[in-house]
């Protein structure tokens, strides 16, 4: 097990309905030292890639992306989930479905901050059905920028998002791939790395 898998075993809580709660260190309370380790690991896994920008999505992707960005020395852009009166000018917009909130959201990035010459690393905390990620991918493609890689903290390997994204040929790296969970025993099994 790597450092993130160990942390999930130690502090993650398995709930009925394939819910993995990691809110004590990942997406409500955030362990910044852990995020820094994740940044070093993503830098290692994408060592050969030249990255000019990190793209993530609000809210829980932002913290990870900002700490990871320190290992790549690039700015972070976060996609917003609803139209704000403070965003104006031209925007890239994608429709995404949220598994957690059971609703559809518009995901928005200002065109000023994604240019055709950008080499983008997409970072997010969770990958399950892949809806949010597909929205981010479509936005980068609409901008004419290249997707150099996708870095995910926790992938639910038993849901189709990761397979779909890999089948599309993207370089996807998930630090922990959960193969199965058992709410009764509270155990998590990871895919072999």
């Amino acid at each position: 097990m790597n450092f993130l898998e160990e942390r999930i075993v130690k502090d993650g809580i398995v709930k009925e309905g394939n819910v993995l709660k990691v809110d004590s260190f990942l997406n409500h309370q955030m362990d910044i030292g852990l995020f820094d380790q994740m940044g070093a690991e993503f830098r290692r896994r994408f060592a050969e890639k030249e990255i000019t920008k990190i793209l993530t999505i609000e809210a829980s992707g932002i913290g990870i992306a900002c700490v990871v960005a320190q290992h790549f020395h690039v700015p972070v852009v976060f996609a917003k989930k609803s139209k704000s009166i403070n965003i104006e000018g031209e925007m890239y917009i994608a429709e995404v479905e949220s598994f957690t909130h059971k609703c559809k959201n518009q995901v928005i990035v200002s065109k000023k901050f994604l240019l055709p010459e950008d080499k983008v690393l997409i970072i997010d905390d969770f990958l399950a059905n892949g809806c949010a990620l597909q929205g981010l991918i479509s936005i980068v493609q609409e901008a004419g920028a290249s997707i150099e890689g996708i870095g995910i903290a926790i992938e639910k390997g038993f849901q189709p998002g990761g397979r779909t994204i890999r089948n599309l040929g993207f370089h996807l790296e998930s630090l922990a791939i959960v193969e199965s969970m058992d709410a009764e025993t509270g155990t998590v099994r990871f895919a072999e790395s």
Copy 2:
């Protein structure tokens, strides 16, 4: 002028209605090197304070808070703006009004992540009317934790939030206090530090 004021003059855009757009470096695209400078400056301004936790609010506070936290070596908790089915158990809830979105939000923090013994530094990107900040303050007070300081990137000094918070006796440090803006000339005037 300090480093943040200089950056606002260089890259901020003044719009009608006292809107200051800083989305190229602060709250849509994020300059992580700048956030790191902000972290060092907050550490200096709160040098005498023992901090155990940083509290912020989604979404644009999260990036700053996470990079600032590296200078304090503490976890970050971000308050969520709407009820998620993934938050359960007991929660602290405050009502806040959003100036930007012209609506009321519930701001929520899980009780697990704010304890009476916590010494909290609140971090956010903007302070104008102070509604969001008052919500965070009420949550910390409900938890019985102490507020050791409040660090803001940009305060709109011509709006009442900062004065109210200082009058209440809180140690509030804003890295840039905008005294006035002129949309016609595009100029920003800062309060003397």
